[in-house]
């Protein structure tokens, strides 16, 4: 049983606990800053309190906004960040962080970002990992710390980060990205004010250079980080890449999160040095007497299985799009949760018309009566938003018009990655008669073009 032995041998390998502790502190600090930043921008009010209507993830309609009390969710998340940084009641803090953060994200899918999803699943993973067995208040109070942790606990985080990059790279292997330099061309063309390289922003060769280097970067960076010799070079690339995207695009904290996350690939010495510097700066004195070798969780086997399943799902989930017909970028069926970042630029609009069947009268709906500008933008280009909004309008106008006998029809045009705009949703279909679900949405008009690639 060679495989079994190999697996066992692997499971018995160890890594330094300092790596996880350093990761814990960086993660906690970044999440703390992210949440404070979110609050300071007034986004809680704007996205979770003001809107009359929220777009729900399929199956999560029970996650409702807490209105003014949404601030409590943020308070819980921020407090748990402090717990995470200090390593105080780590498991509880991490679980609370995962739950509160994920709850906030589930309130409205308008705000979906790959990076929020990354935070959610990473914090889920971290609930199971021993990030608090050294350099933490937990260790301090228990008067017991560990020098080492099982190697797979560190590797699980590396694999997740590797998936994010590699899958983002795979998604770029399509004809629009590689052979039309779209959508970067659309985005970069309007950035000619950029210092020094601004003058290239309108040049075709520059669009291609950026597209190709982006794809190569995403595909190779996990491996360059894994190999010790290329690691410093890889980190320089990570910083340059993320800083560049940070300046060009409004992607908030994501670049910093990724830059800090990739530090986990570095050697344990570096993390130990980091903790030592921290200890000196903060003038901390360790009074832990009981320093043991390897930390082993009590329910070791079960945790290994959970993490194995979790990572397997992460590996498979992004390929679910293959189960749907027609072009993924057009229908967006199976698009989310798959590390497809900056791949499509959809421009256009979607308007709704309420038809009274008994009289044949109809009128157009002003979306802005019900949605804020951000919701309206997201709704206009994504079919699951469109059908959900149509049903909302149906309920609203059935009450207002005091009749059940109405239909909701869509008129809309979408331009995908600089193509000519074309009708998006079948205008002959009464959307009140269709339901959202995992089946292919037959009421999306065919793309009638092809984007080759993965």
């Amino acid at each position: 049983m060679g495989i079994k032995q190999a697996v066992n041998a692997y499971l018995n390998k160890t890594s330094r606990a300092a790596t996880l502790a350093a990761f814990r502190i960086l993660f906690g600090v970044l999440m703390f800053i992210s949440l404070i930043r979110f609050l300071s921008k007034g986004w809680v009010q704007k996205f979770y309190i003001e809107p009359n209507f929220h777009f729900k993830y399929y199956g999560f309609s029970w996650v409702v906004t807490w209105g003014e009390y949404t601030y409590i969710l943020f308070f819980i998340a921020i407090t748990s960040c402090i717990g995470i940084i200090l390593g105080y009641k780590y498991r509880l803090s991490m679980i609370l962080f995962f739950l509160s953060f994920t709850y906030i994200e589930l309130i409205d899918k308008t705000t979906y970002l790959n990076h929020y999803y990354f935070i959610s699943i990473l914090s889920f993973l971290l609930c199971f990992l021993p990030l608090n067995v050294t350099f933490s208040l937990d260790a301090h109070y228990k008067n017991r710390s560990y020098k080492n942790v099982p190697k797979w606990t560190v590797d699980a985080i590396k694999i997740l980060i590797g998936i994010v990059y590699f899958y983002a790279g795979l998604a770029k292997l399509n004809s629009d990205w590689l052979f039309r330099a779209q959508p970067l061309k659309v985005w970069l063309s309007s950035k000619t004010d950029f210092p020094i390289i601004g003058k290239f922003m309108n040049d075709t060769w520059f669009h291609y250079l950026m597209s190709w280097s982006g794809a190569i970067y995403d595909l190779t960076i996990p491996f360059l980080l894994l190999i010790r010799k290329t690691r410093p070079f890889a980190f320089v690339l990570v910083v340059i890449f993320h800083v560049f995207t940070r300046i060009l695009f409004p992607i908030g904290m994501f670049p910093y999160v990724m830059i800090c996350a990739t530090l986990i690939f570095f050697s344990a010495e570096l993390h130990e040095r980091f903790l030592r510097v921290l200890r000196n700066i903060l003038k901390l004195k360790s009074r832990v007497n009981d320093i043991r070798d390897v930390y082993l969780p009590k329910i070791y086997g079960k945790i290994v299985i959970v993490i194995f399943l979790f990572l397997s799902i992460q590996l498979v989930l992004p390929f679910r799009y293959a189960l749907y017909p027609d072009e993924l970028f057009w229908t967006e069926e199976g698009y989310r949760f798959s590390w497809r970042v900056m791949l499509i630029e959809k421009a256009g609009y979607t308007t709704f018309r309420i038809v009274k069947y008994d009289t044949g009268d109809s009128f157009a709906v002003n979306n802005k009566h019900f949605l804020n500008a951000f919701q309206n933008k997201q709704m206009s280009t994504q079919p699951d938003f469109i059908v959900e909004f149509a049903h909302f309008l149906g309920d609203h106008y059935k009450k207002e018009l005091k009749t059940e006998n109405i239909g909701v029809f869509v008129e809309g045009y979408i331009s995908l990655n600089g193509r000519i705009s074309k009708p998006y949703i079948d205008p002959r279909v009464d959307l009140l008669k269709v339901k959202d679900g995992f089946q292919h949405k037959t009421w999306i008009l065919p793309f009638e073009d092809e984007i080759k690639g993965l």
Binding site: Y112, D193, V243, I251, I344, R419
Partner: protein, 383 residues
């Protein structure tokens, strides 16, 4: 220690870049948003809109309305056929100029007062018969005033010219006609003065945020083209909204919704004036001398925006010019009197609608997108 250098160096670079680029942040994420990101000078564009289109057109409208007002006064004081003809001519002249003004005041109270049609004949009669002074500032009275109401009062009040002239023997008709005509001069003067007060501020308000003048005017242009031009002038009276593609939302024809219903022989000319105004705005053609200055066209050319059609990327500007060509062709198939042509479903109107619709979609979706106007201030990773 070498490793540390590898890490410290990029981190310093990071902070250096991010601190340098703080001005870029603001346009992305709120802040004051003073930047637009590209090298095209948007102020040259807003300046062109204001100085080459808005101001000259609105001043011309004001002078045409003053001319109309004096001919109305002389007609009302001593009605006869010659003076009636003069009023008609002057009204038509003002109505044509209005087509160049509306997009700059799109959706404003001023626009609604000037050109809400179909005009409400019942309420106009009530106003004329009213023994107390009528407050035309009330929004419910929008369709009892302005150009369409004037059109009714001098072209549709009675079936023959003689009968119309006879009506103006009565003081209440004279007074109401004078009231409307004076009011158009007043509200146009007010609109002009109000704009003059914010003119310089507006010209320099060109950032990507939804509240900048640049952004508002681009949006108003799109709205105007869609609602006031395509819908009001073509779709509503003919009842057609792209029947092939959107059968459910095409309805029966409503010829009573034709602009200048009581002088329908002018309806195509008014429509073509509006179409001319739309092209002026796109090409940046000056109202006074038709010289090509700065318009949306120049901006799209500077950006080099392309659009992919049947597998080929072509310049968006070239595509839009070809769409104007399609509209021209479709326009040739409709004749002067829209009222006569919209009695039933008219495939020529359907064709005009289709042609305009393609233009609307190209501007609303592809061009606006190229201008990189911010919808809202929020993080995004482009998905």
């Amino acid at each position: 220690m070498k490793k540390i250098v590898y890490i410290i160096l990029p981190i310093f670079t990071l902070f250096y870049f991010v601190s340098c680029s703080s001005s870029d942040d603001s346009s992305d994420e709120g802040g004051n948003g003073g930047e637009d990101g590209d090298s095209f000078d948007r102020v040259s564009l807003t300046t062109s809109w204001v100085n080459n289109l808005l101001m000259p057109a609105t001043n011309d409208l004001k002078s045409k309305l003053e001319t109309l007002n004096s001919s109305v006064t002389s007609f009302a004081d001593a009605p006869d056929a010659t003076k009636l003809a003069a009023v008609r001519t002057d009204l038509f002249e003002a109505y044509k100029v209005w087509q160049h003004v509306e997009m700059f005041f799109y959706g404003s109270g001023y626009s609604l007062d000037m050109n809400s049609y179909p005009t409400d004949v019942t309420k106009i009669t009530e106003n004329i018969d009213s023994t107390t002074p009528v407050d035309l500032n009330r929004t419910v009275l929008n369709p009892t005033q302005g150009l369409p109401a004037m059109d009714y009062l001098i072209n549709g009040l009675a079936s023959t010219d003689n009968d119309i002239i006879t009506r103006y023997g009565e003081a209440k008709y004279q007074n109401y006609l004078k009231l409307l005509s004076e009011r158009m001069v007043t509200i146009t003067t007010t609109a002009l003065n109000d704009f003059e007060a914010v003119k310089d501020t507006n010209i320099n308000s060109v950032d990507n945020t939804i509240s900048s003048y640049f952004s508002i005017q681009v949006n108003d242009f799109v709205q105007y083209t869609e609602k006031s031009f395509r819908e009001a002038k073509i779709a509503t009276p003919s009842g057609t909204r792209n029947r092939d593609i959107f059968p459910t939302i095409s309805v029966s024809a409503s010829p009573d919704f034709v602009e200048s219903l009581y002088s329908p022989e002018n309806s195509k000319i008014l429509y073509l004036e509006a179409y001319d105004a739309i092209q002026d705005f796109y090409y940046g053609r000056s109202y006074t001398d038709n010289n090509n200055t700065v318009g949306l066209q120049e901006y799209l050319q500077a950006l080099g925006t392309t659009i992919m059609i049947n597998g080929d990327d072509i310049l968006l500007n070239d595509y839009i010019i070809s769409l104007f060509g399609n509209i021209d062709t479709a326009n040739d198939n409709i004749t002067d009197n829209f009222y006569e042509q919209t009695q039933d479903f008219n495939s020529n109107f359907d064709a005009v609608f289709d042609a305009i619709q393609e233009f609307v979609v190209a501007v609303k979706s592809n061009a606006v997108n190229a201008f990189n106007l911010t919808i809202d201030f929020v993080d995004s990773d482009g998905d």
